[in-house]
């Protein structure tokens, strides 16, 4: 029996470590670019990895985090698949989602009565191969439930977009990426909405960073673009939480 060459051995070991870090994910899952190169560059995989959970922390109500998450969901649905929006409060307004460029025929809305039903349904949705993305607002999330959702997301290619309050930033996370979104006053000139996106945590340990993005709301569908600010790569590395 011949020994593999050392470079190949090292490569195999590296793959195994990555596989341990990434759970059951495989290379075929692919990455969803959000359409804004600056934001993609901030993320460890150059986009949002399919079959994972993304946490979106809203600094305050009305900051635009939901719009940003739906734009990422729109990109995830480009290659087919459905988007499921969880709306227990019955306040989701579908015409606004259509303006963001979502295909109405691919949009399903689930209105669970309680959080137990919501978590069960979300796990079911994430496990289904025909679903491209799911968006849910979860103010409280137990670590066990979070882990369950992560395993559900990793079993297939659905992107789980979880909208969380700013207070959740101190809680442990099973999400691939945790992003914080805050509103920035928009410029006087055009109908542009400006948001600041912070990379608060990444399982791949790519570090912190901040990027400012602009939502061009006068276009249909709404266009996402980077502002002048460059991602400020933090010198520190390692896990954020």
């Amino acid at each position: 029996m011949t020994k593999p060459p050392s470079s190949q051995l090292i490569e195999n070991l590296r793959r195994q470590i990555t596989s341990l870090e990434n759970g059951r994910r495989t290379e075929k899952d692919g990455v969803v670019p959000c359409g804004c190169a600056e934001l993609d560059r901030l993320l460890p995989d150059g986009g949002f990895r399919r079959g994972s959970l993304i946490e979106w922390l809203a600094a305050e109500e009305g900051c635009g985090v939901h719009s940003l998450a739906l734009i990422v969901a729109r990109e995830a649905c480009r290659e087919g698949g459905r988007l499921v929006v969880f709306d227990p409060a019955e306040e989701f307004y579908p015409p606004a989602a259509v303006r963001l460029g979502l295909e109405i025929a691919n949009l399903w809305v689930v209105r669970p009565e309680n959080q137990a039903d919501e978590l069960w349904a979300l796990a079911q949705v994430l496990r289904c191969p025909g679903i491209a993305a799911a968006v849910a607002q979860l103010d409280r999330l137990d670590s066990h439930d979070f882990r369950r959702l992560q395993l559900a997301a990793e079993s297939h290619t659905a992107l789980g977009l979880l909208l969380r309050p700013w207070s959740a930033r101190k809680e442990p996370s099973w999400a691939e990426v945790r992003l914080g979104v805050e509103a920035v006053p928009s410029p006087e000139s055009a109908e542009v909405r400006r948001l600041k996106v912070h990379l608060l945590r990444s399982r791949r340990g790519a570090g912190y960073g901040t990027v400012e993005v602009e939502l061009h709301e006068e276009t249909h569908p709404v266009h996402l673009a980077a502002r002048l600010a460059r991602p400020q790569a933090d010198a520190r590395s390692g896990r954020a939480v």
Binding site: E60, F92, Y93, E113, A121, V125, P129, S186
Partner: protein, 582 residues
């Protein structure tokens, strides 16, 4: 007030309380009513559609129309007039709904829908299916817009204790459904049609038991043309009745009938009236050989059909196939495992029947009869028709485990209440099957979600071309019915918030100019200063749409960059938060 032309004479079909106060009554000739309303003879109605008033207990004609406890008026496309609209040059392009509403300023007492012949026909067909409990052969009359059900009750009456009892039972059971009918029974369709409309209750029956063969029963749906007979020709009351014509008295019965009882067109009736003919019996005095030349073939055909000289079959509506299985337990069963085992067997049996018929279940009903302690019925809807016993049983099991049985079960019944053709895809030679597998898994997901969360909790969206934000879309259940093709959404959508509050919240806001945007407003989280605003976008609706709205909407951005959707109510200047651009 509504007017109706019938065979040339125009009469009042229904009138409002205000009109009654002026002395107008139902059935009064239009010219008299017009005089009372002082509108002269300008009330010219070209053609009458269908007018009916349904009492509060009734269900609407069309299944698609919402149930309501208000009275409902269904009008034809070009059939309405009122004191307020007589000056209007009325034509079919005008939507009658607002016009009619205008004639009832109260607005709340009448709901108006345009006449929908297709929906009427579908409703009548559903009733025809239901009527198979009385007769194996049920059909509709051959009019363009049928309004009668035809039942062949030859040899059937003895199971219902006679013809009169059968008729009474029909009246009662229709009345329970909120439908007023008249029943006519005769040896021919034509005579039964005449008896239902123009016959008197039970008077035709001179002797009993003369109709053992070829009986024709006609149920007339009284929803329509409630007052359409020429004066004196028919009993004034429209109360439910059973008119039975003995088989050997058909000719005498017909002879006394008005000519309208022969199902003739208005043109022929006009012509006959001009000739001074009023009763069917008077036709005997005319030379039969001249009929076709003078009146066309219709008169002779209808007359012969009514008298039995010409055969007229009932075109039967097919009864939809039933998928049902039942298990009776000699000893009532309370054990869940046993019940699930039995349910599984029942579902397998029906699923096999459905597969052979090429149909899949869209709705499954499971009924447990627990004699002593009540019944339990559970219903499961599906996203896509399925005849897979395993899948259906899984859904039923999921529902069952969340329910408590009222007692020990004596009978378990499984039924497919709604089915659709099974979708089959031709497999491709090199097809990996991924796409079809995904769509099947997605359909299974929807079924599971709907089964646990409820049918109305997993929804698809349809956009509507409505200005009022709350009405610009509609949720539709994904399971339990066939989905019609979606309309393309309006492309040019205005900016709208992703979060729309179910009820706008009143705010304390300050604006510099009376009709301008707010300067600052107060939310529960604190006072917000407005840095930028876009608007106003004025949205208002007509009062006939229910609660009218008059709003000036502003999109505002606060100094911190957060965005909200506010409006000023124009009636009182109050500020409200309606949405958040979250």
């Amino acid at each position: 007030m509504l007017h109706e032309t019938v065979h040339g004479s125009r009469r009042v079909a229904a009138c409002s309380a205000k009109a009654r106060a002026l002395g107008i009554t139902v059935g009064m000739p239009l010219s008299e009513a017009a005089a009372l309303l002082e509108v002269g003879d300008t009330c010219r109605v070209s053609q009458v559609g269908d007018i009916c008033r349904v009492s509060s207990r009734s269900t609407p004609i069309s299944g698609s129309k919402p149930k309501t406890d208000k009275s409902i008026t269904v009008v034809g496309q070009d059939c309405i007039l009122s004191r307020q609209v007589t000056n209007l040059s009325y034509n079919a392009t005008v939507d009658p709904a607002p016009v009619l509403n205008q004639s009832h300023p109260a607005g709340a007492t009448h709901l108006v829908w345009p006449h929908d012949p297709r929906a009427d026909r579908e409703a009548l067909e559903r009733l025809a299916v239901w009527c198979h409990r009385y007769s194996p052969l049920v059909g509709l009359d051959d009019a363009v817009e049928p309004d009668s059900l035809l039942l062949d009750v030859t040899g059937v009456a003895r199971f219902f204790d006679g013809e009169e009892a059968l008729g009474r039972r029909i009246l009662t059971q229709f009345a329970r459904r909120g439908i007023l009918v008249r029943v006519g029974l005769a040896v021919t369709i034509g005579a039964a049609w005449a008896a239902a409309r123009y016959g008197k209750s039970g008077k035709q029956k001179a002797e009993s038991g003369g109709m053992q063969e070829q009986d024709r029963l006609e149920c007339r749906w009284l929803r329509r043309r409630a007052v359409d007979s020429p004066p004196g020709s028919r009993a004034k009351d429209v109360s439910p009745s059973v008119a039975i014509v003995p088989s050997d008295h058909t000719d005498e019965f017909l002879a006394a009938m008005p000519l309208a009882a022969l199902r003739l067109s208005d043109e022929i009736l006009d012509l006959l009236r001009q000739l001074g003919l009023q009763r069917v019996g008077q036709l005997d005095r005319l030379p039969r050989a001249d009929f076709n030349a003078r009146f066309g073939p219709e008169l002779l055909r209808r007359w012969d059909q009514a008298a039995g000289r010409l055969d007229e079959p009932i075109v039967a509506l097919p009864l939809p196939q039933q998928f049902e299985a039942e298990q009776f337990f000699e000893h009532p069963v309370g054990d869940r495992a046993t019940l699930e085992f039995v349910l599984n067997q029942l579902i397998q049996r029906i699923a096999q029947m459905a597969t052979i018929a090429g149909r899949g279940a869209l709705r499954v009903e499971v009924h447990f009869d627990c004699r002593t302690s009540g019944n339990l019925t559970l219903e499961v809807g599906l996203f896509r028709p399925s005849a897979s016993a395993e899948h259906l049983f899984g859904l039923v099991q999921m529902r069952l485990e969340r329910l408590r049985l009222p007692g020990k079960v004596e009978t378990a019944t499984v039924r497919f209440t709604e089915t659709a053709p099974l979708e089959r895809h031709q497999a491709e030679l090199f097809d990996s099957g991924t796409v079809s597998q995904h769509s099947r898994q997605t359909a299974d997901l929807i079924d599971r979600l709907a089964s646990r969360l409820g049918r109305d909790r997993i929804l698809g969206v349809r956009l509507l071309a409505e200005a009022q934000p709350e009405r610009a879309y509609r949720y539709e259940s994904l399971v339990g019915k066939r989905r019609p093709p979606r309309r393309t959404p309006p492309r040019d959508l205005p900016p709208r918030p992703l979060k729309l509050l179910r009820r706008p919240i009143r705010l304390a806001a300050v604006a510099i100019v009376p009709d301008g945007p707010p300067l600052h407003f107060t939310l529960p989280s604190g006072r917000q200063r407005v840095a930028r605003s876009w608007g106003p976008e004025r949205i208002q609706t007509g009062w006939w749409r229910g609660q009218p709205i008059h709003r000036d909407y502003y999109r505002v951005e606060t100094t911190t960059g957060t965005r909200y959707w506010l409006f000023r109510r124009r009636t009182d200047g109050g500020w409200f938060l309606h949405g958040v651009f979250h």
